[in-house]
Symmetry: C2
Subunit: 348 residues, 2 copies
């Protein structure tokens, strides 16, 4: 069978990770990536043997630095089945209108967008544990943001197993990604927004509309991971051990024991991933602290950590196979993604 | 009427603030403070005209630096009605046994401890909005910690007005006080502890034993204030505006409007306090963000900020008057404390 030909528009935090993941998938071919800025990212791509494309009016800027481009974004789009848009939040809808939509209408292209875009950019918003099947009917997919992906993994697993009455979660966001040297706060806790609910609750509902969820969100001065305090009321009373078993049965959720391992902070999670020699120390799994899992009657409460740079990567890979109508999707796709990316093999 | 004679043991973050507050109270006399380390704090006290005492075996250390001490802790205790212990957490019980208890039993002294001590250090644990009357029967009082004080102010006001079914709060703690240059984390979110509940729920129950409360707590890299995400279920459905009016009617709770004022972070609260030329930029009020107040059916949820260095100061002042059996305590005491400290006059 021929491979799914994939292009990536944008080679930033998310795009470069999806590019590496696509390159590792046995059923996919990474045709190339689109970059608009001729910086060190070009050199990284070149060293990895990845073809770089750009937009027409940037070609000279790349050539001026001696950076070789394969062609324009139009040239790339002609050669791919699926474009993964990983441009900065809000740019996706610009590229959609200018480049993708005409090809999509002609049946020559399908598109994936990231969570920074508005929901109406795509046919569906997506998470592999929630609504994977819907991808088979879609020509475009929006993979929701890192925080929403983290919430959805836990929520959909628990909702499918036990039924959720309502979710009330507090999101403690990292201020900036490690590479960002301009963003803050440096020494403050900032309400983001100062009102409840934050947009995360709305974003969860773009994937599972019927859930009763509200969220509060603050930003804190750290770059490593988000932490969520997830309080929920289940439809039935469930034994704590049963919940731990259920959560642990998914490759994309890792339940860690802080007392046993000493891992009681995002810094220690990251140090473990570095010691395990994970690529870029990425942690695409949702990390749930076993010790924090609190149950009483129908109440369930726990603390979880989300690696903002990598958690959406497996969902993007699955979304590609859904749009490509791959045989055995979604179950086979999820298994293949997990197997190639080594999902779930985190200190256990 | 003669003034209440007060001594302070410990001249650190809390002790120095209580000392300044006592000195400002018309019905109190600050007899002196006890210090065990001859450092810049001595020079500050001297410049303010505050008498400094120490323990016997430290006298030479002070004299060696040319620092004049009035005498020993025993000398101070002979001259005061009330000792406020503000020594580092855990030391209070040492001083209690070694110095205070004998005088308390003789009826010559009463003692106040801080929240870093275990509850059994004193006859009662205390918050002015919760159990002020109990101070009249006590010979020693423990003023609970900053986070617990912040929680209790909101909880007792709301519980008295409407009745609380349960509280589920997430506490986002500052990592260190501004002066501390050794503590972290620097770039991490640390679970403190990794389990639910954290000790804060237990500490709230030392003051109001019958409340159903559980808490989760994390530490984040900031020095300014704690932030709490306080989710609760009330016994009845209450109108949001009514809740805002109720909270706003207390001097020790300030409801701020983030949209109107632009104050959406702890950094901006602190900058406002600096601009208002508050002593040390202290904010002894509990700050609740109006915009965050969320109600649905019996649910109530809001975000609040706690200035860890100063929030317990008014409670310590009230506790002194309770132990001194002052006429009109507690209402008159609370009014006098608030009036002298300018409580509630924060951007409104």
């Amino acid at each position: 069978m021929s491979k799914i030909r994939v292009g990536i528009n944008g080679y930033g935090t998310i795009g470069k990770r999806i590019a590496d993941a696509v390159a590792r998938m046995p059923d996919m071919e990474l045709v190339g990536v689109v970059k608009v800025t001729p910086d060190y990212g070009y050199l990284v791509a070149e060293q990895k043997g990845i073809s770089v494309y750009t937009v027409k009016d940037r070609i000279d800027k790349f050539r001026g630095k001696g950076f070789k481009v394969e062609g324009t974004i139009e040239d790339l789009l002609e050669q791919v089945d699926i474009i993964v848009d990983a441009t900065p939040g809000g740019y996706g809808s610009y590229y959609k209108e200018k480049y993708y939509d005409e090809l999509i209408i002609k049946g020559k292209l399908k598109a994936i967008y990231q969570g920074g875009e508005k929901p109406d950019v795509a046919d569906i918003s997506f998470n592999s544990y929630c609504n994977a099947e819907e991808a088979l009917e879609a020509n475009s997919i929006r993979v929701v943001s890192c925080n929403t992906t983290g919430l959805l993994r836990a929520i959909c697993v628990l909702n499918n197993a036990y039924g959720i009455e309502k979710v009330r979660a507090t999101i403690i966001r990292r201020a900036a990604d490690p590479k960002e040297d301009k963003r803050g706060p440096v020494n403050s806790i900032k309400l983001n927004p100062p009102k409840i609910p934050s947009h995360h609750a709305l974003d969860v509902k773009t994937v599972i509309p019927n859930i009763d969820i509200e969220t509060a969100a603050v930003i804190v001065p750290t770059t490593l991971m988000h932490v969520h305090s997830v309080y929920m009321v289940l439809k039935t009373r469930v034994d704590r051990d049963e919940i731990i078993d259920e959560l642990s049965s998914y490759n994309r959720i890792v339940v860690i024991d802080a007392e046993k391992t000493g891992i009681d902070s995002t810094a220690k999670i990251v140090e473990s991933a570095r010691d395990l020699l994970r690529p870029r120390y990425d942690i695409p799994e949702l990390i749930i602290w076993k010790d924090s899992i609190f149950t009483r009657e129908n109440e369930l409460w726990f603390l979880q950590a989300v690696h903002q740079e990598s958690i959406v990567v497996p969902e993007n890979i699955d979304a590609i196979r859904g749009l490509a109508r791959t045989d055995g999707y979604p179950d086979k796709s999820i298994r293949l993604t997990d197997s190639v990316l080594g999902m779930g093999k985190f200190l256990g």
